[in-house]
């Protein structure tokens, strides 16, 4: 398989523009600037590239939603990689920042945006520093700024560091944050393509998506589309973590078997351990079990299995772990990261954590598991953005698929904590009866 994004990415000094250019960097930009915008849009469409951030929306179609009118338009790169288990953009930005910058310039040229931003999560200090240097180099080399390579096209690129909030990975939360506000998601519609950053049309895409654009231009869209499989074109960076022997990022062609990724590339769980369940697309995706390992890794197969490819982050959980701990860790994370704007997410995550704490300490009954499951259903589809669903779907799937373990955990914890054997101690406060 031909590596596109990770091709010799460890080459020392690749973050330097000289090395990048020596390897053919910025050639795609020259090629793109010489083309009409409509042609570029066609190439992007022909590539079949679907957004790599999580939603999987086709890039070409998204770009075509940006109105052609001569108004202030923006390009935003979502580098707020916060989905637990995901760390692919980090490696790309750190080791090959110019590929992202080149992709962004081409994307901005395609949609006619003259201002662009990389919103990078604040915790990525090294990557932000690398990008800042790379942007300065690109500016000095005339790839950014006024009248790029005499094309008449101008682009300003600003690196914007976030400050620690998962919700800013949600595109409209990111836009609010980039406008200097609390990162609360917005109502959609209007979609960013019509009213995004500073109310202007905004193309917002993930790092990996934008970094793939130079390759698409270089190869031609239809050539790129030959990689991968139908409806899941191209290569994808997969972050494999959790209980595997060789955690890390791997570039695969979509359509590969999941087992080959987890076991072949990442080495599978430690000797003597078995896969208990795994998240195929970040912690927000409903879990799959060992029985699902032969499903191919692509958008459609995952959707068919009732889950999603998401950001391409596989988290493997082996049989040494308690499903209750995983569920509580998950729910606590989403509770912590809920922005608090909409009711079902704010209260639902909060309530779920409280119930799971009782499950963990043995204070729950099987009826509480019913309530947990029902609360997840009440969250799904009723929220302002997808964060609520992002907790409800995996937690719901864990309760559904591992209910006996939840029940036995309650029993065991109850005994361990001495609950249920004697009546609970009388409350110090008098009980009022009505």
């Amino acid at each position: 398989m031909s590596a596109i994004l990770f091709d010799r990415i460890d080459e020392p000094g690749l973050n330097d523009i000289a090395t990048y250019e020596r390897r053919g960097g910025y050639e795609a930009l020259r090629k793109a600037l010489a083309q009409p915008r409509e042609g570029l849009l066609e190439e992007l469409k022909a590539s079949g590239l679907r957004g790599r951030g999580g939603a999987g929306f086709p890039l070409g179609m998204k770009a075509s939603f940006i109105p052609g009118a001569d108004i202030d338009k923006y390009l935003v790169c979502n580098a707020d990689e916060s989905e637990p288990g995901t760390f692919k953009d980090r490696e790309l930005m750190q080791k090959n920042p110019h590929m992202l910058i080149e992709g962004m310039i081409i994307a901005a040229f395609t949609v006619g945006a003259n201002r662009s931003f990389i919103y990078i999560r604040g915790e990525y200090v090294l990557q932000a520093d690398v990008l800042e240097q790379a942007i300065a180099q690109a500016k000095a080399a005339g790839f950014l700024g006024e009248n790029i390579l005499d094309s008449g096209f101008s682009l300003d690129l600003v690196l914007h560091r976030g400050a620690g909030a998962y919700i800013c990975g949600e595109e409209t939360g990111l836009l609010d944050s980039l406008e200097g506000k609390r990162g609360n998601p917005r109502l959609k519609p209007p979609f960013p393509a019509n009213q995004g950053l500073f109310q202007g049309p905004t193309l917002i895409n993930n790092v990996e998506t934008l970094a793939t654009i130079p390759a698409i231009i270089r190869m031609g869209g239809s050539e790129y589309a030959k990689l991968g499989i139908e409806n899941s074109a191209g290569t994808k960076l997969v972050s494999v973590s959790g209980n595997v022997q060789r955690p890390g990022n791997y570039e695969i062609e979509l359509g590969m078997s999941s087992r080959d990724i987890i076991f072949g590339l990442a080495g599978g769980p430690d000797e003597g351990r078995e896969v208990k369940f795994w998240f195929p697309g970040g912690s927000s995706s409903p879990v799959l079990t060992a029985a699902d390992l032969d499903i191919t890794y692509d958008f459609d197969a995952m959707a068919k299995a009732g889950t999603m490819l998401g950001s391409g982050a596989i988290i493997v959980v082996d049989d040494s772990n308690s499903v209750v701990d995983v569920a509580l860790t998950l729910a606590s994370f989403y509770k912590h990261e809920s922005c608090g704007k909409c009711t079902p997410c704010r209260e639902g995550t909060n309530w779920t954590v409280k119930m799971l704490q009782r499950v963990q300490s043995g204070e729950a009954t099987p009826m509480d598991l019913d309530i947990i499951a029902s609360v997840q259903e009440q969250i799904i589809g009723n929220c302002l953005c997808v964060l609520g669903d992002a907790m409800a779907m995996p937690v719901g799937s864990l309760v559904a698929k591992f209910r006996p373990e939840f029940e036995s955990h309650i029993e065991a914890a109850r005994e361990r904590n001495g609950l249920g054997l004697t009546p609970p101690p009388a409350s110090e406060e008098p009980v009022l009866s009505l």
Binding site: G85, K95, V125, A163, G164, G180, S241, N249, T329
Partner: protein, 217 residues
């Protein structure tokens, strides 16, 4: 039994139980004429404001800058940001308290985020947090926090030490980290993310070692 949350009264959130102080003046936009701001901080914030079509976008960068100067987003720091940007300190505080990286209480200068999210917790993240706290032994200069996924699950369990990602950590590494910080030297040089090679064969080059470092401008 003692930890069972059922018998306690909800979680306490800082600020929830505080009344306003009626003797304070309402917090409108602070006037630069009466709010002294260190010149460097002011210039940095103004430079950030100039980068964006709408100056308000510079609020998060401005808070980063103010936190660097003041050590935390103190009321004074927030007022200074507000004065330079011409917005109310309330707006600044609303943003500062939303984001995890902004400290709204005084903290030590050595910032350690230990990831306790799912991938790290599967590989002992919570134990690393305990070990790190034990290693710092209550030293007020150490700000050790459990943090959500830092995006480095490949080196789990991991921590961000003053912004430098290190991992995979053994519990024994924590004492070393504390010692390195106290000594002012590099932290756990061999386990830094900047020297970690790509897991994918295709990414490797001869020698297999990589270092991301400063480039010549």
């Amino acid at each position: 039994m003692t930890d069972v949350t059922r018998f306690t009264h909800g979680s306490r959130i800082p600020g929830w139980d505080d009344s306003v102080d009626p003797n304070k003046a309402p917090a409108g936009i602070p006037d630069l004429a009466t709010t002294p701001v260190p010149a460097e901080l002011r210039e940095e914030i103004q430079a950030e404001m100039a980068k964006y079509p709408v100056f308000r976008s510079a609020l998060i960068p401005a808070l980063h800058a103010a936190q660097r100067v003041h050590g935390w987003c103190s009321p004074e720091a927030i007022e200074q940001v507000a004065a330079v940007m011409g917005i109310t300190p309330g707006e600044v505080a609303a943003v500062a308290t939303f984001y995890d990286m902004f400290e709204t209480k005084p903290v030590g200068t050595q910032t350690i985020y230990v990831c306790t999210n799912i991938s790290c917790s599967l590989r002992g993240g919570p134990k690393i947090l305990e070990a790190m706290r034990a290693a710092a032994d209550g030293d007020a200069d150490f700000n050790i926090r459990a943090f959500e996924c830092l995006g480095a699950c490949d080196m789990a369990p991991m921590a961000s030490v003053n912004g430098e990602f290190v991992g995979p950590l053994a519990e024994s590494d924590c004492a070393q980290i504390v010692a390195d910080l106290k000594g002012g030297g590099e932290v756990l040089a061999a386990k830094q993310l900047r020297v970690r090679p790509c897991a994918d064969e295709a990414g490797r080059v001869d020698g297999g070692q990589t270092t991301t470092s400063e480039v010549t401008q």
